[in-house]
Symmetry: C2
Subunit: 592 residues, 2 copies
C-alpha cells in the first residue's frame, strides 16, 4: 500500500521563488500570494492524500466493469468524484462565465499534479472533461457553450475525445467514421472508435463525446475531418436530458495499467451529433487544444514519478539491509537502512532531481500559456508551442524511468502488486503512448516546431539560456555548478539545431533519424535552465535571510546533482544525432 503527501513546499517554491506569480502583470495574479496558494494547495493535497490516494490500488485491482452496456467504476470512485465536484476542484481554472473559478493554468497544473499523483486513473475523468470543455469553449457557438459548459465545468457531465480507430492511430487521415448531414443542421455519426478514455462510466449524468469524423465534401485526407459534439443523452432546449443517443460501449480494453479509468471501444450507429467549429477544419480545432492536452500528459509523467519517488524514499529509510561501507550508521540495529548505500542514493537523487526539475518546467509552461491567454503574449505562445513536445516526450519517458527506479529500490517486494510500485510503472507507461506517442512528439519538434516562424522560438529559447547565464555570471557559487554545465549543454543543443537546419531540406531522413535524441537533448537543456533558475532563486532566498535554510540548501544540492550527473547526457545525444541517417536506414526491411 502506497502513501502520498502533497509536496506543497516545493510547489510554493516554484510558484513564488521561481515564477513570482503574484508579481506578474496578469489578470487576477496579484491575488495569488503565498498565503492564498498555500491554502489552495493544502486543501487539494488533503483531498489527494486522504480520498484519492487510498482509492488508487483499489482502482487498479478492481478495474472497470461493463455490465449490461453500462460501465461500473471501482468502489469509492463515485463518492470521490462527488467530493472533487463539490469542492469546486473541477471548476478551478474554468471560465467564470460558465461557473468556473477563473484561476490561471499555473494553479490548475499545481492542483492537477496532486490529484494525478494520488490517482492518475481517477483524475483522468476530470482531465478529459476539461479537454472537451476547452474545445467547446474555444470553438463552440454561444448556444453550444450555454448548453454544455456549465455542466462540464461542474463535471455533472463529463467529456471525452474520440480520435483513434482500429486502423487509424497517428495517421488520422485514414479515419472511416462518417458524418451524414441532416436537414435540421445536425449530423448522423457512424463508425467505431477505440481507446476512448472515460468513454462511459457511472459517475455523471451525461457524457459529451467529441468525435472526429469525415463529412461529405472534404476529401479523403485529414483535410476532410470535422469535429462533432455527440452527447450520450440528447439535451433538450431547457437543458434537461432527453433520449439516449445511438451510441454504445462495444467493450472495455484490458490494459497494462490505469485500470481505474474505463478505456472503451465506442460504437456510433447513426448517433446524433452537432458540428463543433468549422466544417472540415476538425484537425485545426484539435490542434488548438493539443498544447494543453500534451502539457497535461507531461504533468501525469511528473505526478506518477513523484508518487513513486515518495514511496521509494520511505522504503529506503525504513528497510534495514546491509551496512554502510564507511561504518555502521545504526550500530544498535541489526542492519542499516537502505538509504546509507551510495547506489541507493544515486537512484533516489536521479529521481528527486527529475521530479523537481519537471515540476518547474511544467509550471513555467503553464505560466507561458497564461501569458498567452491573459495578455495575448505571442512570444510566450510560440515558446510554449516549441517546448510542449519536449515536455510531453521527455517528461513521460523520464517519468516512466523514475517509476522503474523507484520500484527497483524495493527489490523483490517492488515486483509484488500489493506494494503498489508495479502499478506506478504500469500506469506511467501509457503516458509515453497516448496523446501522440513520444516518437510523434519528436517528429512534431523537429519536423514542425524547430523551423516554425523561421526558427524564432528556438532562437528565443537560446536567448533565455544566454540571458540566464549572463544574469548570474558574477555569482561564483553558481558558475562551476550551474552556469558552465548549462553553457556546455546548450552548445550541444545549438550544434544539433544547426545540423538539422543544414540537413533538413536536403536529407530529411537524417533529421528524423535524430529526432528522438534531439527531444531528449532539448529536455536536458530545458532542465538545466530551470535548475539554474531555481538555484539562483534559492540563493536569493538564502541571501534575503529566509528562515527555512535547509530547504533552500537542499534545492541547490539537488540542482547540482542534475547539472553534474544528468546534463552530460547531451554529449551522447549529440553524437547519436550526428551519425545521421546512414546507420539508422542501412538495412532493407527483410534484413530485420
Amino acid at each position: 500500500m502506497t502513501a502520498y503527501n502533497a509536496p506543497v513546499r516545493d510547489i510554493q517554491f516554484v510558484l513564488h521563488d521561481l515564477l513570482q506569480i503574484s508579481q506578474q502583470d496578469l489578470a487576477g495574479h496579484a491575488d495569488l500570494d503565498r498565503e492564498f496558494t498555500q491554502a489552495v494547495l493544502e486543501a487539494a493535497g488533503k483531498l489527494a492524500s486522504e480520498v484519492l490516494a487510498p482509492l488508487n490500488i483499489i482502482g487498479d485491482q478492481q478495474g472497470c466493469k461493463l455490465e449490461n452496456g453500462i460501465v461500473r467504476t471501482p468502489e469509492g470512485f463515485k463518492g470521490a468524484f462527488d467530493q472533487m465536484r463539490d469542492g469546486g476542484w473541477t471548476a478551478l481554472d474554468c471560465d467564470p462565465e460558465f461557473g468556473g473559478q477563473g484561476m490561471p493554468k499555473v494553479i490548475g497544473c499545481a492542483t492537477g499534479e496532486l490529484f494525478s499523483a494520488a490517482n492518475v486513473a481517477f483524475t483522468m475523468y476530470q482531465g478529459l472533461t476539461h479537454g472537451a470543455y476547452s474545445a467547446i469553449h474555444t470553438h463552440g457557438t454561444d448556444e453550444q457553450k450555454a448548453m454544455y459548459l456549465p455542466k462540464m465545468v461542474s463535471c455533472e457531465w463529463t467529456g471525452t475525445m474520440n480520435l483513434t480507430e482500429p486502423h487509424a492511430g497517428t495517421d488520422l487521415g485514414l479515419l472511416r467514421t462518417r458524418a451524414e448531414p441532416q436537414e435540421d443542421g445536425s449530423y448522423l455519426i457512424s463508425g467505431q472508435k477505440i481507446f476512448i478514455s472515460a468513454g462511459d462510466h457511472d459517475m455523471s449524468e451525461n457524457i459529451i463525446h467529441l468525435v472526429l469524423a469525415k463529412a461529405p465534401g472534404g476529401g479523403e485526407s485529414t483535410k476532410g475531418i470535422s469535429l462533432f459534439i455527440v452527447p450520450k443523452f440528447l439535451v433538450n432546449a431547457d437543458g434537461s436530458l432527453g433520449d439516449r443517443n445511438s451510441l454504445s460501449v462495444g467493450s472495455l480494453e484490458h490494459k497494462m495499467g490505469i485500470h481505474g479509468n474505463s478505456t472503451c471501444v465506442m460504437n456510433y450507429d447513426g448517433a446524433k451529433g452537432w458540428l463543433l467549429g468549422d466544417l472540415h477544419k476538425g484537425m485545426r480545432a484539435m490542434f488548438t487544444m493539443m498544447n494543453e492536452a500534451r502539457l497535461g500528459v507531461g504533468l501525469q509523467g511528473l505526478a506518477v514519478a513523484d508518487a513513486a519517488y515518495q514511496n521509494a524514499v520511505a522504503y529506503a529509510c525504513d528497510r534495514l539491509q546491509g551496512r554502510a561501507i564507511t561504518g555502521a550508521a545504526r550500530p544498535d540495529a541489526p542492519a542499516d537502512p537502505l538509504i546509507v548505500h551510495p547506489d541507493i542514493r544515486r537512484n533516489l537523487m536521479d529521481q528527486k532531481s527529475f521530479v523537481e526539475g519537471a515540476r518547474a518546467l511544467i509550471a513555467w509552461c503553464a505560466h507561458l500559456i497564461d501569458r498567452s491567454h491573459l495578455a495575448g503574449d505571442a512570444e510566450a505562445e510560440a515558446l510554449v508551442s516549441l517546448l510542449i513536445p519536449v515536455v510531453k516526450g521527455f517528461l513521460t519517458d523520464k517519468g516512466f524511468d523514475t517509476a522503474v527506479q523507484a520500484q527497483q529500490v524495493f527489490g523483490g517486494h517492488g515486483y509484488i502488486e500489493e506494494h503498489g510500485m508495479s502499478q506506478f510503472v504500469r500506469d506511467a507507461r501509457i503516458t509515453m503512448i497516448y496523446e501522440g506517442a513520444n516518437g510523434v512528439q519528436a517528429l512534431d519538434l523537429v519536423g514542425r516546431k524547430l523551423a516554425a516562424d523561421g526558427g524564432k522560438p528556438m532562437m528565443a529559447f537560446f536567448e533565455l539560456v544566454k540571458g540566464t547565464i549572463k544574469a548570474h555570471e558574477a555569482d561564483e557559487e553558481l558558475r562551476a555548478g550551474f552556469l558552465e554545465p548549462l553553457k556546455a549543454a546548450s552548445k550541444d543543443l545549438q550544434t544539433a539545431t544547426m545540423y538539422f537546419v543544414e540537413q533538413g531540406m536536403k536529407n530529411p531522413n537524417a533529421a528524423l533519424s535524430g529526432s528522438y535524441d534531439f527531444m531528449h537533448l532539448f529536455g536536458h537543456v530545458a532542465f538545466g535552465l530551470v535548475w539554474t533558475r531555481m538555484a539562483a532563486a534559492a540563493r536569493q532566498a538564502l541571501a534575503s535571510g529566509a528562515s527555512d535554510r535547509d530547504f533552500y540548501q537542499s534545492k541547490i544540492a539537488t540542482g547540482r546533482y542534475y547539472m553534474s550527473r544528468q546534463l552530460p547526457a547531451t554529449a551522447t545525444h549529440l553524437a547519436r544525432i550526428r551519425t545521421g541517417s546512414e546507420p539508422v536506414m542501412a538495412l532493407a526491411e527483410d534484413q530485420f
Copy 2:
C-alpha cells in the same frame, strides 16, 4: 497474440563464425559442427515456437493457483513440461554419469535462449532445477548425487533455491531460518522463505528444495549459514518416495509478471533436511553457483528482448500509418508501413543491435565457463567472473528497455494486454531484480571483481580489447566503424577503472556512487568488443566467398549502428562516475 521464431541463423553465426566452437581443443567440442548444432537448434526452436510460445499468454492470463495446499500451473504447462522432458532437453548440458547428455554450457545457453524467449515463466521451472542440480553436483556426497541427480536431470523431480526471507533479501546475514541437528545426522529446518520460484507446482513427482538456514555454532553473520537439501517428499533408500515432509506453501505472490511461474511463500515447520556441502559454508556453496545463475538471468534479459523485438518488427512491417518523408513507399496502399519512418528504424536498430550483441556476449561467457570446467582454464574463469555482474546487470537493464521500446512500436495497441507486448515488459522487469538486484551486481563488480587478484582479470579484458584492435588494424573497413570507437570507449573504461583504483581505499563512497554507471560503461565496451569481433568474422566469411552475403552484410551494418550510436554513451557514464560521491551523498536523510 505474439509469435516467436528461433533465430537459428544468428546463433549459428555466434557459435561457428565468432566462437568457432568445433575447433576448440575442449572435450566433445569436435563433434559440435554446423550440421549438428543446426539440428539441435532447429529441434529446440520447433518446441519453443510451437509448444512453449502459444502457452506464454495463457500462462500470463491464468497464472498459478493455490488449491488446498497444492499449486496448479496454467493449462497446458504440464503437457509441455512432459515434452521438454521427453525430448531430453532438460538433460542437455548435464553430466552423463547421471543421465545427462554432456553438452557444453555454450549449447545449453543457446537452447535455453529459445525456450526462455518463447516462455520465460515456463522455462524457469527447468532453470531452477538446473541450478539445484549444479549445487548438488558440485557439493553433494556420492550418496546424495546418486539419490537426487538422475531424477533432477530428467526433471521428474524439480528443484528450488530458498534464500530470501521477509526481512532478509540482499543481506542474508539477517536470516532467521534455523536448522536443528538430529541424532541421525539430519536437521530439522524451521522458518519462512519468500519469493521461492517454482516453490510448488503440479508438473513433477517431487521437489528438491535447497534451503539456506543457520545451524548452531556458526554465529549470527552470514558465516553461520549452511545449505540444506529439503525434499518435498522424503526419499526412501530404494529411491521411492516416502512421507510428505513438514513444509508447505503459505501463499502465492501476486506479481507484475512471470505469472506462469509459481512464486511461493514457503513455510518449513521442522522439515527434515540434510546438509549440502560443509557446515557453516552455505554462502560459499551458493557463490560457486552464482556465475551460472546470473548468466542465466542475463540470458533471460536477452531472450525476452528478442521475442519482443521480433514482434515489433512484424508489426512495423504490417501496420500502415503515415507516409515516408522521402515519398510514398507503397503508393497503392492507403499508407506506408511503420518501418519506413526513421524514428521507427532508430527504435528497431537499438533493439536489434542490443539483441545480437547480447547473444554474442552470453555465448562468449558460456564458452569461458566451458573452458574453465572442461580444461581447468583459470584465466577463463577469472575473466568470466569479472564479466558476470556486467552480463546480469547490463543485459537485464537493456533487455527491459528493449521490451519497452518494442511495446512502443505498437502505439496504443502495445498497452492492451491481448497484444502480448505488455507481458514482455512485465516479465522482463523481474530480471533486473532477482538473483541479486542490479545495484548489487554493480557493487559486486566494483567492490569485489574489479580488484580481484590484484586487478589481473580487468587487465586481461583490456588486453583482449587491445589485441582485437591490433589484429584488425590493417582492415580499413573496420577501422573507422569499429576499431576507433572501441578504442575510445575502452579508454573511458580505463579512465574509470583508474579512478576507482585511486578512490577505492581512501573514499569508498566515491567508488560506490559510480558503481552503477561503471557497470553500464563496462557493458557498452564489452558489446563494442563482441561487435568488433562479429564484424571481423562477418568480413572473414564474406572474403571466403560465403553464399549468404546479405546476412553477413546486415551483421556488419548492425554492428556499425551499435558502435556509432550506442557506444558514445560511455562518455556520459564516465562523466557521472567522475563527479564522485559529493553530489550523490550531499543530502541528509530528511532532505529527501
